[in-house]
Symmetry: C2
Subunit: 194 residues, 2 copies
């Protein structure tokens, strides 16, 4: 394509830097001027890719949810038993959060801030696909007797709560990696406390 | 004190209405003018109690964390066995979230938005007291053999993650009460999936 190798995906780079800015300052407090200055872009260069700050926000949510679902879907091996697939799902979710930390912090306040109704609908579909994959694993584990007959929706929500709340306390430079934390949570959820 | 009975605590009423506004519109997008209009107060009446929107935000966080710790501390009966105390803790946390739903949504983005450093320090102490109570229950359950020898900090964080994430999906008018959800989570955490 003849693009210079260091900026081979300016759109993704804008989303990454904007997520960092939103996570650190808050969405409302951030401006495209600051984003452009942080990236050493002109504001006009950003407008080549996105029409507004809101459009960038919406694109961050969609890109992150897509990365989350894709990473889980590709990590889960359909031939493995349910507990192993649950472990694969949880590790992939935590890895994705670690790799896209600022985008997950930006997402913490939810999709309610999304302005484009069609994109918001896409976001909910991606979230449902991710949760659906998890519920399928739990259902199959119950069906083949490896899991207790728990409430599937409640259990899926519990697993996603553990992983989602990491955006509030996890630090990429902290003592444990995302995968180590997911492994601890997997162990707790499967074996229980008693 | 001769106060009219319907407005016996205007300060608490301002915090409650402000939390509703912040939860629905976002902190940055909310103004004291809107708050005053929603409460049928003059802006001057609000200034009798708080000097700024930021001061109201800080006060919401402190009041909510204090209510959370107090409700858990008074719900936990020190004479009961550890699993029962864990259940009491989780139910109290969920009840408090349900009763202060908008304040918990306002808190979702964290204490980083707090401007008053002394109050932020108070907030972290209240959070630590709440988590400390939970860790004590888990530690004692491990010591007396009712719980497996799990990592106490990790397990406390898992329990608080389940409860905290409710601010993102729970609806006070939804099909299950906060206590019913906490009871499901308690069952899952204690018995596990396998």
């Amino acid at each position: 394509m003849g693009r210079p190798p260091l900026v081979d995906d300016p759109r993704a780079e804008i989303l990454r830097e904007a997520a960092r800015l939103f996570a650190q300052k808050g969405y409302a407090e951030s401006s495209l001027n600051e984003l452009a200055a942080a990236m050493k872009y002109s504001k006009g260069a950003i407008y080549n890719y996105f029409a507004s700050k809101q459009e960038i926000y919406d694109a961050i949510i969609i890109a992150t949810l897509k990365a989350l679902y894709d990473s889980a879907a590709s990590a889960v091996n359909p031939d493995d038993p349910a507990p192993e697939r649950l472990r694969q799902f949880m590790m992939a979710h935590a890895r994705c959060l670690e790799a896209n930390y600022h985008a997950f912090v930006t997402m913490l306040v939810g999709y309610s801030g999304m302005a484009n109704a069609a994109l918001k609908d896409d976001a909910l579909k991606l979230r449902d696909a991710h949760e659906g994959l998890l519920r399928q694993i739990i259902s199959e584990g119950i069906a083949d007797g490896t899991f207790r007959p728990v409430d599937v929706a409640m259990t899926g929500r519990a697993v996603l709560s553990l992983l989602s709340w990491m955006a509030r306390w996890f630090r990429p430079d902290g003592p444990k990696s995302g995968e180590e934390i997911a492994a601890d949570y997997y162990d707790l959820i499967v074996k229980g406390l008693a």
